[in-house]
């Protein structure tokens, strides 16, 4: 918790903040190992004719959630089939509890007039969402719609969820998940992530689940989804990279941490703390891709998860920026990712990246919104999104995925160097009124890395608390 959040949550601070109308950030709940996916009651609803009620009910049942559903025969039958002892819910029910999550299957909406189903479900319930609660709307990707009217109505969902994100308050988040027809059995990994405190700093995002993913086995170990897997994390000696390394290790992976030789001591300390290994090299070295590939092949017979996290900033407005600053940032943040990725996937079935592999890049909201003084950085981070788009089809063909997180303001050494006024603005200019923690980025990466999210490919998800920048 930053100083401001601490202060406005003291009794005096609360009063002052209220009187002068200051934003009041809620301390966000975060995941602790062994904790339930969702702590509290989930209300599962949907527009009539939707196709996801059954699998959502099953996901909630498997997650051990307490559930309520509207008294509609299809929803009740879905809950019964999933073995959920779901309490009936009607709009007039004066619930004296709050909902940990509202989950709404909007796939039944095939024309704009039916968008009133959103109003009917969320109007009586949106103010009953618990602190750090969740709202999740699931739809059909507009590009998969059968008719223009359906595509229009489904596209409209995005405005709805983004607006809710700005209204909901109290540390709660909202997401839109587009589920391609045929991917109904692939919801578990993504819905669990968005329900849980793991997605604390992710809000107002749009995620697409495609049907390539393959079904999650029923005995899947959700506590250690990466057991037996090897993960490479670049820039792992500190900040977000260190958090990624320990989060993937928590999920069962053997982590190979990579960083520049100058930080080898720090890197070794991080690796030792999580039973991983350390690989000290500069990713911009001409030889780096080959060295990484042969290390992974030699020591681990390949790699399952690759996280391109290493990155630098060399800020100056463009007129004052020398070519070195420009080139250094493009080289570290963009070109090296391309080169390393190419080295890991070359060779077809004999590639270093194992079948079902996961590549996760770290972009930035700078790369989406642009940022004064960061032409080089924004260019590199937008290029990272380009990598995701360009490589996704090829990776899909090998049952692998590539996705990116785009962090907003995250409390690290990098952001600690930002001047105070700008830093404060960066923190507060989001729906959650605060900066995120490195672990928030790490949890999103762990979700992309999970064997349960094979249908999630080519996505860019912001970890920014719905920052106003570029939103």
């Amino acid at each position: 918790m930053d100083r401001y959040t601490q202060l406005v949550n003291t009794p005096i601070g609360k009063t002052v903040a209220k009187q002068v109308g200051l934003p009041k950030p809620v301390p966000l709940k975060r995941h602790t190992p062994g904790a339930p996916v969702v702590d509290g009651r989930v209300l599962l609803g949907g527009a009539p004719g939707g196709r996801l009620a059954q699998s959502l009910a099953q996901v909630l049942a498997d997650a051990g959630a307490e559930v309520s559903t509207p008294l509609r025969p299809d929803l009740r039958a879905a809950a019964a089939e999933a073995g959920l002892d779901a309490a009936p819910w009607t709009p007039q029910a004066s619930v004296d509890h709050r909902y940990a999550a509202l989950v709404f299957d909007a796939t039944g909406i095939t024309e704009s007039a039916q968008l009133d189903e959103l109003h009917a479900f969320f109007h009586p319930t949106i103010r009953k969402v618990a602190r750090c609660g969740r709202a999740i709307v699931l739809g059909t990707p507009p590009e998969s719609a059968r008719k223009p009217a359906e595509a229009v109505a489904q596209r409209a969902l995005e405005g709805f969820t983004r607006a809710i994100g700005k209204e909901i308050g109290r540390g709660a988040t909202v997401q839109l998940v587009y589920v391609e027809p045929g991917a109904e059995d692939q919801l578990a990994g993504t819905v669990r992530f968005f329900l849980s405190p793991r997605s604390a700093f992710v809000s107002a995002q749009v995620v697409r689940i495609g049907k390539e993913g393959g079904k999650v086995p029923s005995d899947f170990d959700w506590e250690r989804p990466l057991a037996g897997k090897v993960a490479l994390v670049t820039g792992a000696s500190r900040g977000i990279g260190a958090a990624i390394a320990s989060t993937l290790a928590r999920d069962g992976a053997h982590v190979v941490g990579l960083d520049v030789p100058a930080l080898e001591e720090d890197l070794k300390a991080v690796a030792a703390g999580i039973g991983g290994s350390a690989l000290a090299l500069d990713i911009t070295d001409a030889d780096a891709p080959r060295a990484i590939a042969s290390y992974l092949r030699r020591e681990h017979r390949g790699v399952d998860v690759v996280v391109h996290n290493a990155g630098i900033t060399r800020d100056r407005t463009l007129g004052r920026m020398d070519a070195d600053r420009w080139n250094a940032v493009i080289a570290v943040n963009l070109s090296s990712i391309e080169r390393i990725t190419d080295a890991l996937i070359e060779g077809g079935r004999k590639a270093v990246l194992n079948e079902g592999g996961r590549i996760v890049c770290v972009s930035s909201i700078s790369g989406i919104a642009g940022n004064a003084g960061q032409t080089n950085y924004a260019t590199s981070k937008a290029g990272v999104i380009g990598i995701v788009n360009a490589y996704a089809p090829e990776l899909a063909r090998r049952g692998a995925t590539i996705n990116a997180v785009a962090p907003g303001f995250i409390e690290t050494q990098m952001t600690a160097k930002v001047p105070l006024a700008i830093r404060e603005a960066g923190r507060r200019m989001s729906s959650l009124w605060q900066g995120g923690l490195p672990v928030d980025v790490a949890e999103a990466i762990a979700w992309f890395a999970s064997p349960a999210t094979g249908g999630v490919n080519g996505n860019v998800v912001r970890v920014c608390g719905q920052s106003l920048l570029g939103a």
């Binding site: 008294l71 019964a80 073995g83 002892d85 779901a86 009607t90 029910a93």
Partner: protein, 426 residues
Amino acid sequence: MTPAAPRRAVVLGGNRIPFARSDSAYKKASNQDMLTAALDGLVERFGLAGERLGDVVAGAVLKHSRDFNLTRECVLGSRLAPETPAYDIQQACGTGLEAAILVANKIALGQIEAGVAGGVDTTSDAPLALNEDLRSILLDANREKSVQGRLRQLLRVRPQQLAPAIPRNEEPRTGLSMGEHQARTAAEWGITREAQDELAMRSHQNLAAAYERGFQDDLVTPYLGLERDQNLRPDSSIEKLAKLKPVFGGADGTMTAGNSTPLSDGAAVALLASEEWAKQRGLTPLATFVDAETAAVDYVNGREGLLMAPAYAVPRLLERNGLTLQDFDLYEIHEAFASQVLSTLAAWEDPVFCTQRLGRSEPLGAIDRSKLNVNGSSLAAGHPFAATGGRIVAALAKALHERGGGRGLISICAAGGQGVVAILEA
């Protein structure tokens, strides 16, 4: 020696006094007065004067401490043989039906030949308890040996301690009234105001019609100037019911004085016997008392609604008897509140309730509403708590007999999260 195999217990009929609204026609009548009147009416109707019956079982929910042996006192005050044994039971609103179960079971086991089951309640002549402080002072004074000592204790009495503790219609473990509990259940099951008012109106119309066609003539005996149930409003209409303000569930509540039972006074008894006993006296059995079940739910921890126990009792009873919910010609679901009846029916139609809570593979399904409470129920008649079971057993047995046979289901919800249900067959 092996005991005899169980035999049939049959319902021969019943008698009740018209039910009165609280603090009205029966405000001076005690529980003992009313139960004795109902009993004597039965004696009159079935020629039982001087007869020694196997048992008279009855009870009252609100009972004075002096009435510790209420039913036996009533027997002694009636024209039954003074050698007729009696005992009191109490299971809230389930009292009357539970009494019938006990009598039927003894008959079935051959332990008695005939018995009376029933109940009585008054909310007008209700017992008042002493203020707890005053009570302990009086007990202290009583323990003193000297006059001065007693005076010294009595001087401790303060004026506010003279206010009596009035019995409250609330669940001791939740502090919520039964109506508030049911309001939550009703909202949960989405029971609308319109559906409740509709059920209430049908209850009044059906009971009025039952009186008109003489159905009640051999079930009810006039008492203290009342010939029909005082709460009955034959001209009840949806428009009038719609005007009433909600009394439970807050300003947006759906439960009104029109679709909830009023506090009432009255008594009812039913006569059960073995077939041989009936034959010897030339009495026609109206229906067989087939089987019964009692259930209770955990309403304290919010797991289930206070009045939802019958929704559990009925499926267990059906299962044991190899019946489905649709295998009945008449349904008597006690109308404690219109919404209680409707919540129960909604639960039986709900796949989640039926699979997860009842452990069935599919819902019990809907019932034909035209078979429900065809001669009116508690919303119209009123509901003197322990008297309701006797009213329903006699009326259902008669209705089954009248239609030339058939099967009937009784369902009664009770305070404390309990439910008593039974099957009659003719």
